[in-house]
Symmetry: C2
């Protein structure tokens, strides 16, 4: 095991906060990503709201708020998409300008000290404070607070506190809503640069046309529309100050704001709060959106910063109560795991089934799309937090079934092809050699449906929406697959597996294996429905217009599915011909050549046995019982040795399998890396946004890794173990109505139901009942089992 990557320690380690002490301009983009606050509906990076002339990315995004951009190719072939939706930069609702004695506050220009930026993970609030010393030697302590309300997600709250340290006098403030923001990614995404280059003219990077702006009573509001997508975003704010202010309205083309002065008294704090309310719709009627927005703003017309913060914090307290992972004896990992949970929950918490987990949060790269990461990495966590959220993520896909049918037709397939990278239900990315060849998105959705059925047993969903998706997805996979003329095997030709270092391969083991599972499961569900819910069964067949021969075809495809395996070694072959690929000593690639995508010519990557991320190795995690321990060990050791871990999804899966194999130290290293991926900027690209799905993997790294949670048996199984460096750890899972707490130290693992009924689980392969009464089991070391 060798991860190639080195950490870039910058933030202070603490169990419940992330702190930046002192300001390093070169780290501003990194810190802006890390200090993102979000509430699923909207997200703002940790940018300086008072304006900043140094390099930064003032990013304010709304989930699913997109515009269309052209996608260009050297040559357009049939089926290529020529435009795609992309989550654009929107209104800067935190906009503030502060000037004292005619000196404008800009940390790129003024003198300041005692800078500190603090993310409070428990309460999901961001605080920034420093002392500004003006040219006139006035010293002013300023504190900025912000949060995006997780209960009423339209609301963004800002508080600014001013404390003059050596003077009395007046300070000028302008607080506003600014649509003059730049969507940098529109300038192009260069993999070799890592971010969009910024060479293009700025006017191409702003996507907004202002439709209306107005002050109505104490509410300033502005509304603007996108270029092509027909989306209108209404943004508004009120000001609440502890002194009487007399604001004057300021308007510019894409801006509305309020200018006012505050009277400062030496050593006394003055402050003002901004309560922003945002609303957006895809609609034609300017007035309709305006009045809906204004209604919402008026609905929150009495809300205060403090009251809002209280409801926000209550919600977060409940989240931590249900989901917190405690690690004793490892502050770095403790912080990393909590930050990961924070990063995922601000991304998506199940408010809407028309939103999904953005694969990167608080950045522009990847365009705000979601990938298979949702089903493979995130869905599991939500299932054990709250099955309702897991259901919503599946319903998100269900709502886009008509689009998936279109998306299949575009590339000459039948049924439904769920897009690999999507925001509007169709494929959004033009990197066809990845997104179009990675046909395993359908399989990921099958996996999540199966998994949800298995763990949550929601037959109502399965027999209605679930089966409809399954039928159309099977149909699609059947239309991609082909029969070998050599031996009559079935399989998927010309694909890319999860490992993105091999392109246009045949019989990718992961894809074939999941395809087989999906066909079989769909047939089982049909059989179950015919027995248990004959009316819904008939309805499903009719809706899908299932041809009588299709189930038999799928059965035969599943039966004849080629799964390549070397029987002598027990090693599954990643795809046809993989074992024949020239060997590359991946662990000895110089660090200077990492990441591979940046340092190797793209076309060179694909002709070796080096893999980017786990491909086959996902299977012994998903379907633990399908493989013997000896097979797991052989395959883990074979493939890990060939893995560059270039994907952020790679380490956590390896952490899980290593723990199962008793390679506790190795597991720990993978987990430690995954947990601090963004905090320590291992990939040197956190400035582009937070790796949310990797964050979900971190949770799994603890719970399925050291906790040994597996889901593919008749009941849940847990096989806890503990790394040497930890004193103890604990986590919780919500399962069949019970909130189960698991606490593990080097002697014992203690299980109990904090809430809900007692439930049956397997612990070290013994069937156990977990009740309110703590159950103590001696911790085993797995490694001896192999």
């Amino acid at each position: 095991m060798h991860l190639f990557k080195t950490s870039e320690k910058y933030f202070t380690v603490d169990p419940w906060t992330v702190v930046e002490k002192g300001f390093a301009p070169a780290k501003q983009r990194l810190a802006e990503s890390i200090f993102s606050v979000a509430n699923e509906f909207m997200c703002v990076r940790g940018y300086f709201e008072e304006g900043y002339s140094g390099d930064h990315l003032l990013g304010s995004y709304f989930s699913q708020l997109y515009d269309m951009t052209d996608i260009k190719y050297p040559q357009v072939f049939k089926g290529f998409i020529t435009e795609g939706a992309t989550m654009i930069n929107t209104v800067d609702w935190l906009y503030t300008r502060i000037s004292l004695d005619g000196e404008e506050l800009d940390l790129g220009k003024v003198k300041f000290s005692d800078f500190r930026r603090t993310l409070d993970l428990k309460n999901a609030t961001l605080k920034r404070e420093f002392i500004w010393t003006t040219a006139t030697q006035k010293r002013l302590r300023i504190t900025f607070l912000r949060f995006t309300n997780i209960v009423h997600t339209a609301m963004g709250c800002q508080r600014i506190i001013l404390e003059p340290l050596n003077f009395c006098g007046e300070i000028k403030i302008c607080s506003g809503l600014d649509f003059d923001t730049l969507y940098e990614l529109a300038a192009g995404w260069d993999q070799t640069q890592g971010t969009g280059s910024r060479s293009e003219q700025n006017h191409d990077l702003n996507f907004w046309t202002c439709e209306r702006r107005q002050k109505t009573k104490d509410i300033w509001a502005i509304q603007a529309r996108t270029r092509r997508s027909g989306i209108k975003l209404f943004s508004s704010f009120r000001l609440v100050s502890d002194q009487v202010i007399t604001p004057e309205t300021v308007e510019r083309e894409k801006f509305i704001g309020a200018e006012f002065s505050l009277q400062l008294t030496e050593n006394q704090v003055a402050s003002f709060d901004k309560i922003a309310v945002n609303h957006w719709e895809q609609a034609n009627d300017v007035e309709q959106v305006w009045s809906a927005g204004l209604n919402r703003a008026q609905k929150y017309g009495e809300a205060t910063y403090d009251a809002t913060l209280e409801e926000h914090s209550r919600h977060w307290a409940d989240f931590w109560r249900r989901m917190d992972v405690e690690i004793e004896g490892d502050p770095e990992l403790q912080q990393g795991v909590r930050y990961s949970l924070y990063a995922l929950y601000i991304n998506y918490h199940g408010e809407s089934e028309r939103r999904n987990v953005l694969c990167k949060l608080g950045g522009e790269v990847y365009n705000g799309v979601n990938f298979w990461d949702t089903e493979i990495y995130c869905h599991r966590l939500y299932m054990f937090l709250n099955p309702e959220i897991a259901r919503k993520l599946l319903m998100y896909r269900y709502h886009y079934l008509p689009k998936a049918l279109e998306n299949a037709k575009r590339v000459d397939l039948e049924g439904a092809r769920y897009p690999f990278a999507t925001l509007t239900g169709v494929e959004e990315m033009g990197t066809w050699q990845h997104v179009e060849l990675e046909i395993h998105q359908n399989e990921a959705i099958y996996y999540a449906i199966w998994h949800y059925d298995k763990v949550c047993g929601d037959k109502e969903f399965l027999y209605n929406e679930g089966i409809e998706m399954l039928l159309q997805m099977c149909r699609c996979m059947a239309s991609w697959g082909g029969w070998s003329p050599k031996n009559g095997d079935f399989g998927f030709y010309g694909v890319m597996g999860p490992d993105e270092f091999h392109m246009m391969v045949n019989h990718n083991c992961y894809t074939n294996y999941l395809g087989k599972k999906m066909f079989n499961y769909t047939l089982e569900v049909l059989e179950e429905m015919r027995r248990e819910a004959p009316e819904l069964y008939e309805l499903a067949l009719a809706k899908a217009e299932l041809r009588p021969e299709e189930p038999a075809e799928w059965r035969r495809m599943a039966e004849k599915m080629r799964i390549l395996k070397d029987e002598a070694t027990g090693i599954y072959e990643q795809h046809d011909g993989y074992f024949d690929l020239p060997h590359l000593d991946v662990k000895n690639i110089p660090v200077s050549q990492i990441p591979i995508y940046k340092h190797w010519a793209y076309i060179k990557i694909f002709r070796f046995n080096m893999i980017k991320q786990p491909d086959f190795l996902n299977l012994p995690y998903f379907f633990s019982r399908d493989f013997t321990m000896a097979e797991k060990k052989a395959n883990y050791e074979f493939y890990e040795a060939r893995t560059s871990h270039e994907s952020s999804l790679s380490p956590s899966l390896h952490a899980i399998l290593a723990a199962e194999l008793g390679k506790l130290e190795e597991s720990y290293h993978f987990l430690a890396y995954a947990a601090r991926l963004d905090l320590d900027n291992y990939n040197r690209n956190t400035e582009q946004g937070i790796h949310s799905s990797s964050a979900a993997g971190v949770w799994a790294g603890v719970v399925s890794g050291f906790g040994g949670l597996r889901t593919d048996g008749a009941v849940l199984t847990l096989n806890p173990t503990i790394p040497a460096s930890w004193k103890s750890y604990g986590f919780k899972i919500f399962y069949r109505g019970a909130l189960i707490e698991v606490k593990v130290n080097h002697d014992e693992a203690i299980f109990r139901a904090l809430e809900g009924p007692s439930v049956q689980v397997g612990i070290y392969d013994q069937s156990c009942q977990i009740t309110a009464e703590p159950l103590s089991v001696k911790v085993k070391n797995h490694s001896s089992e192999i």
Copy 2:
């Protein structure tokens, strides 16, 4: 055999001309391509010089005159090229405007009759005539003549003849040089549309900035520069009329011209000639290029249309004397073969070793680049026309050796990687999945060097330039290749073979086989040089900085090169896993789905055993003696059945092999298709330009097909046969200083040396001496041999 494609008969069949009788506006772009005239230096499509408001492409190109354009991708990875050279549209030096009674001549608007456009293949001239009836009922017969002088290639000549049929009076003419032309391809190339869409603004499609324009004595001249490539094009003309004219100079931003009147007398012809002289350079100094251009124009200052035509026709007569193919009893094929020879010779005739054969002539698609077609299809023909030309084509590559070294480095390779599609010596096309993966361009150049050595025996070239290229190309191939960990075989992984329907394959048989040959041949040449030319040997090693271990490595790579073959059937496997690909009944794809590229989603194409064009099958043609007749038969039948013949290069190769296998009717059908590919617009894309390399294949289809010429033995071998429908045919080849004539009818084949010494060849595997005395041999039918 089933070619899918249907002919679109339009032009009149005649042995020495191509005639369009009557004008069909919908066929204008097609006819413009077919009626292109060119002389290697420049090319003009058969457009209407008097202006035409209907759909057309006014195309005037100079070989190697390019500008740079940006290449965009959805995502840029390392090694991707972000700009490429493209042969842009240039000056309309034929520009003419004619008006009578204020009515401007425009065949899109005026009344006309008796339209006829005639391409004279013998003399390489284009004539167009019609009768214009004005709104005032005046009837005027107009004849336009043009040619591009093949001897002094800077000269383009135009003659316009006017004959009033029912009136006397004055006609107004404006003759000029117009840089206001549009490069349509800059609007993007959409494979599904076939041509560039024309949606972009016109100002983006003109690449010229005028630098200077002036009349100097009787010469009107203008000079303009490209946007980025730093090329300046000087264009000039003189007017010669049979009556005294008093022209006035007209200037516009990108235009200079002469306005004058001609006095017309009923039933008498009046005419005027325009002698254009063009000159271009890549240079910074405006005046330097201008004076070089003007000098050249003045050098031709006394040239007349008639005298110029005479020297032009003399050159063409010599070409036909050496290269004509006569077919008795098949006027369609006779015309098709002559048109093919015309189309290739106007493309390239060896004037300059800094030019090459454009893969498409008289069009914009493919950007004026050359491909492996030059070495694989065209080089052979030139070798048998005149070895000096064949040498120049190799020297063209040699001059770009430094660029090929750069081109290798760009994609992390060593040595020299010749680009797959090039104009300036580096890769110009961004379709990386084709151009970057088709690594067989180096092998094509090896093949041409080997072939030239074999047939022409030019050791001076081989020991100097040839070996230098070979060493650097071997080094490059060695750096791409890899060793199988399974059995220690060597081969090329992650490539595309000649068959562009399979991407990112391993051990492509064609690529591996030629790689093996190339390593071995290079080692043989080294050995030969060490013996025969030790000083040059040392020089070559020093120049290439050959590492001592490299030759041994190459020997081992050649020895261990994996060549996949099913010993039971004798069928070579196109690449690893090809036999396992799902079968597609390619011959039963509905015609409505042809061409595949237009009708199938791109990503669907690659997962079947359907192939686009011959891949393995090239080998039994190149290296006839390496394969038994049974192997040839088995492989031909196996692969032809799976071939869609979507490439224009496909049919001629099949014609050659079918003839060898005695499948004379099948061979004939392939040849007939290839020979009339453009004349009958089989691919429905002749409007984009003429398929020049296919034209070279047509010659090979006769000479290597029915003529049975093979070159891989110690001497040339000829095994003539004749298709049932022909009475006789004849061709000539220039070999070892002798111009050999071969005439074949159903009884005998007659060989004689028209010029030069007697030479040894093999005829039906008998060694024969060809002398000035005709040698008659009875014609055999090969099919009985199998």
